[in-house]
Symmetry: C2
Subunit: 277 residues, 2 copies
Amino acid sequence: MENVSVNKIFGGWHKQYSHFSKTLNCSMRFAIYLPPQASSGNKVPVLYWLSGLTCNDENFSHKAGAQRAAAELGVAIVIPDTSPRGEDVADDEAYDLGQGAGFYVNATQAPWSKHYQMYDYVVDELPQLIEATFPVSDKRAISGHSMGGHGALVIALRHPERYLSVSAFSPISNPIDCPWGQKAFSTYLGKDREAWRSYDASELMREAKDFVPALVDQGEDDNFLLEQLKPEALTAAAKASNYPLELRMQDGYDHSYYFIASFIDEHLRFHAAHLYQ
Amino acid sequence: MENVSVNKIFGGWHKQYSHFSKTLNCSMRFAIYLPPQASSGNKVPVLYWLSGLTCNDENFSHKAGAQRAAAELGVAIVIPDTSPRGEDVADDEAYDLGQGAGFYVNATQAPWSKHYQMYDYVVDELPQLIEATFPVSDKRAISGHSMGGHGALVIALRHPERYLSVSAFSPISNPIDCPWGQKAFSTYLGKDREAWRSYDASELMREAKDFVPALVDQGEDDNFLLEQLKPEALTAAAKASNYPLELRMQDGYDHSYYFIASFIDEHLRFHAAHLYQ
């Protein structure tokens, strides 16, 4: 593992690392924010943040302003990339497929399956690496934006034993029923729609029996709201399974990081309440 | 004036505009953050933020996290670009000269003098436009980073009647005595070093008689500290004139926006205390 950068922020340390991922079969970069409380004698819990289409670890690191509350609350933040990367990694010219658009699934279709195993990377390999390397505990929360909100919800819904809380901003709530999700799933997972269901937050939430407390914020002026995001599917699913979901429609907010910045403190406080329970 | 973008953030509105500047003789873009308190019946004071080398209005807007405290305190923020822009505007291949590197001076040398009049733009044209257009008062503060910290200090020192407070992060404190400043000043202002002195914060502070309360933060692990920034010159000047300068060396911090984000709240509170006095 190679340290790429170190910056002091709010008394803690924001660091980028590159490492070779066995799961993804390529070199990957991630960022970690270690709050001032973190030390070998005081392991802190971790929030995993999954970013949206076209992002890498830097968008959230630069734009969300999350380190302030993380430093106050004593929560580390780990920010993986959004896909495998590299010249020999399959790609597509479109912004919503290939590099920068891994959709946090394990691809089964050629040529994608060789590297696009983001689900296993985020669920297994990365937490193992993080917990073996840094002064953090195995108390985990997960959050994300848009494609990353989809990823966070799906991962928490499928592994309620591994996460104490989950949140999302503007998630792709029902990907099997929107253009982004249908394009990505048909490409990465093939034509069998039954295989898609295990990566659809609304489908999973409807059948859920073990709960992870969930907070979702969605801007009402989000350009992608009607066609791509469909929070109403998530609300209906939560009603069906009596899932502990708080979904808040936020008047006037859009899909940008300005929206995330406005509510990231509330998400961090929500997670910290569960991580330190 | 053309509205380029609008985003809701922390209950207020972050907006970008383009306009034709008579002073600069070209089209310019700036950003303004209007906090939720701002209305035609409730004009709010304004903090002008001057960015550093290579920046435009978006670096501070995206990375500083300033809107949160500005919304809480009821302070608007105006963020101009760092130079004139355009295909017919003189430029240089180096990052520290030409477009993105206006140094907030009025150039006297060809070919620069045709457009590079950033001092007058920031001091006169832009505040007139802002105060005629938006629900803001004529209570002004000014701040900036690196080249913009130099600009903020110089402008406040030369116009103590126009600004209620000034602050800076990692300012180029003594540009007549560092490579960045000497390169820019010799290019824009010519060989007469006497002309440079009116753009040097340490020179101006040493002779100051009318004071504007000043706060400066400087990271101790800033790569540019010794060669380019020289805060000790500012400290010595303040001592000579008994200037109300608080200059704080911050252990472990570097020259990046992570440093600015860590202390921007304190700067906003400092300015708000004077703007709302």
